[in-house]
């Protein structure tokens, strides 16, 4: 890993160059990662909380066609889809969002490769930005990342002062990306930025992830689930806001009498009909079971399979929950 120094104005020049090349630029706004149309929209604010939704929808859209079909009298014609990933540069990604694509990548590539995801994901350049603020819902430190974590970022920005940034080159992809712009870069000293990152206040570690893993394994049946299930309204807002939730539905829909498309849509494990069989049997018929599935999937099943926690600790699910259920509190309670 090498570290360079770049002036903020020079960095913005890179951005405007990218814009003129036609790349998609994303930067955190109030409610979501907004698509930058003008570089004045890039704020690079370390103290903002994560926006309401992450940028996962640019790699895994909330609705996308998988194929098109046309029914003839007794014939069917399929038109295949070719997803061409376009360069997407995320500028100032929160460290908790930066990791999301690499976590989801495990699922979409194991055994069968879902190229709808990977074709888009591999064209992402994630420029992370150190985070200097947290609220009662943040718990990135508890799931193994931190406000200064470079995980998932290709390049990582640390503000040295108002107008200069230390830019850490984390991946080869990031290095490639910066090559045309070497004129803007000066050599940096890792110690300078380390001084800054050391001063950043981290959210307290709320739970031990290995302990939670153990507890979940032993407490599939626990009255705790029922208590949450009573309050939870099964709205699945948490799953839709989550930067790493990836469950989806496949449905056919016609757009004319004979033509239609097969769509892949986001789905949420909190919906009652998510696992409903055609026979009427439902393995997860109660909200308590569905919530248990959510927590287990994030903190145990995913770890079992891919060695990663399916959570980045961004706290979105809790911040947006209409009945203010706090996942941090629930997972912290996952002990005897």
């Amino acid at each position: 890993m090498t570290e360079k120094i770049i002036l903020k104005d020079d960095f913005l020049k890179i951005c405007s160059d990218l814009l003129s090349k036609g790349d998609t630029l994303l930067a955190p706004g109030q409610a979501e990662y907004i698509r930058i149309k003008d570089i004045s929209e890039i704020i690079l604010n370390t103290s903002a909380l994560p926006p309401k939704t992450s940028f996962k929808s640019y790699a895994f859209p909330r609705s996308e066609p998988l194929l098109y079909y046309k029914r003839g009298k007794n014939d069917v014609q399929i038109i295949d889809i070719n997803v061409e990933g376009k360069n997407i540069v995320v500028i100032g990604a929160k460290p908790c969002d930066a990791e999301s694509l690499s976590i989801m990548n495990h699922l979409f590539t194991w055994d069968y490769e879902d190229e709808f995801f990977t074709a888009r994901a591999k064209h992402f350049i994630v420029i992370g930005l150190m985070c200097s603020n947290f609220d009662e819902y943040c718990f990135c430190t508890s799931v193994g990342t931190s406000p200064v974590s470079e995980k998932g970022s290709d390049l990582f920005l640390i503000p040295l002062d108002e107008n200069t940034f230390a830019i850490r080159i984390v991946t080869e992809k990031g290095n490639e990306f910066l090559k045309p712009y070497t004129e803007f870069l000066k050599d940096g000293n890792e110690q300078n930025s380390a001084m800054i990152t050391k001063k950043v206040k981290f959210p307290e570690i709320a739970f031990d992830k290995d302990e939670v893993y153990e507890w979940l394994g032993n407490n599939f049946e626990s009255p705790k689930w029922e208590n949450i299930g009573n309050v939870c309204l099964s709205c699945a807002q948490c799953a839709f806001a989550c930067p790493v939730c990836h469950c989806f539905d496949i449905v056919d829909e016609d757009y004319s009498y004979s033509e239609g498309r097969r769509m892949k849509n986001w789905d949420g494990c909190q919906f009652g009909h998510f696992t409903l069989h055609a026979s009427g049997h439902n393995p997860r018929d109660l909200q308590s079971k569905r919530y248990r599935q959510r927590i287990n999937h994030k903190f145990r099943y995913y770890v079992d399979r891919f060695g990663k926690i399916l959570c980045t600790g961004c706290g979105r699910c809790s911040r947006g929950c209409p009945v203010s259920i706090n996942i941090k509190e629930i997972v912290s309670n996952c002990k005897d």
Binding site: K52, N230, L233, D249, V251, E253, N265, W266
Partner: protein, 294 residues
């Protein structure tokens, strides 16, 4: 607050009610709904300006059956409800979802609530439903707490927006709502938090035939939002939970309120105010206007 806790714990101890649905404090500016069955747990009950949930969403047939029909003697379910939440309860009773005898309403004289969690209560952060609130006293209750309070006066931005939309041309209106609905991600949080969206199986979950596409593209979003708004028109009591729960900040309250205004204008009907008169869309009058029909 103490009187509320004491009252609730007495109710539970006497076995007059099976459970108390109330608010508990989570942090400074946040409360959480809780279903309390143990008298000891009532010590965490609160009621103040941060109790913004409409708890009547928990009053479902299934829950009443599970909680109150456990022994031979049917028990009641106590609920702490703001005066505006009582309207939702009334609407639920009118639509035969619950029975008045099953519910024990603990209500309060309300001084307004904050519009979302984590905000400091003030004139600026007042929920939009409170700005035009006409019912600081509950219409029905079994127990009333608190003194009469004044809701801070604030600008009714929602009404301004409605008037603004009304003055737009048809195309502009369509564009406005297309843009708003385009944000929808079909999480159906608006449906989940709505006390009046009690259907066991929502029309969007019905697939044979599929009336409303579950994909969140423009067409599917439009259908869903129109159908949601229509199913609630003249039923919505204006609790504003849908708008608050929406993760994409779609102004659902605008539509709901417009329909409520229309209902008041044409039929002088306001949903959830009285158990004596039937619901508007569930009844008819032979003298209704024929203006619309050729």
């Amino acid at each position: 607050m103490e009187v509320l806790r004491k009252y609730a714990s007495e109710l539970l101890e006497k076995k007059a009610v099976a459970a108390v649905i109330g608010y508990v404090r989570v942090s400074d500016k946040r409360t959480r709904p809780a279903i309390i069955t143990n008298p000891e747990d009532t010590s965490s009950l609160v009621f103040d300006n941060y109790c913004l949930n409409n708890l009547s969403v928990y009053l479902t047939k299934a829950r009443i059956k599970a909680l109150c029909r456990t022994s031979d003697k049917p028990m009641k379910l106590a609920i702490t409800a703001k005066p505006c939440d009582v309207h939702s309860i009334v609407a639920l009773i009118q639509e035969n979802q619950i029975h008045r005898d099953d519910i024990h309403i603990i209500s309060f004289n309300c001084g307004g609530v904050v519009k979302d969690f984590g905000l400091e209560f003030s004139k600026e952060t007042l929920a939009s439903k409170c700005i035009h609130c006409e019912s600081q006293k509950p219409v029905y209750f079994d127990k009333l707490f608190g003194e009469e309070k004044k809701i801070p006066a604030a600008e009714d931005k929602q009404l301004q927006k409605i008037n603004e939309i009304d003055s737009m041309s048809t195309e502009e209106r369509f564009e406005f709502f297309k843009k708003e609905f385009d944000k929808c991600i079909k999480c159906y949080a608006c449906r989940a938090v709505c006390p009046l969206c009690y259907c066991q199986r929502c029309i969007t979950d019905k697939t044979i035939p599929c009336w409303i596409e579950s994909s969140s593209h423009q067409r599917g979003n439009f259908s869903w939002n129109i159908v949601r708004a229509f199913h609630l028109s003249a039923r919505c009591t204006g609790c504003g939970e849908c708008e608050r729960a929406c993760p994409m900040d779609i102004p659902l309250g605008l539509i709901n309120r417009t329909m409520a205004i229309e209902a008041k204008k044409s039929f002088s009907f306001v949903s959830g105010r009285s158990l004596e008169i039937p619901t508007l869309v569930g009844s008819f009058d032979v003298k209704d206007s024929d203006e619309l029909f050729m």
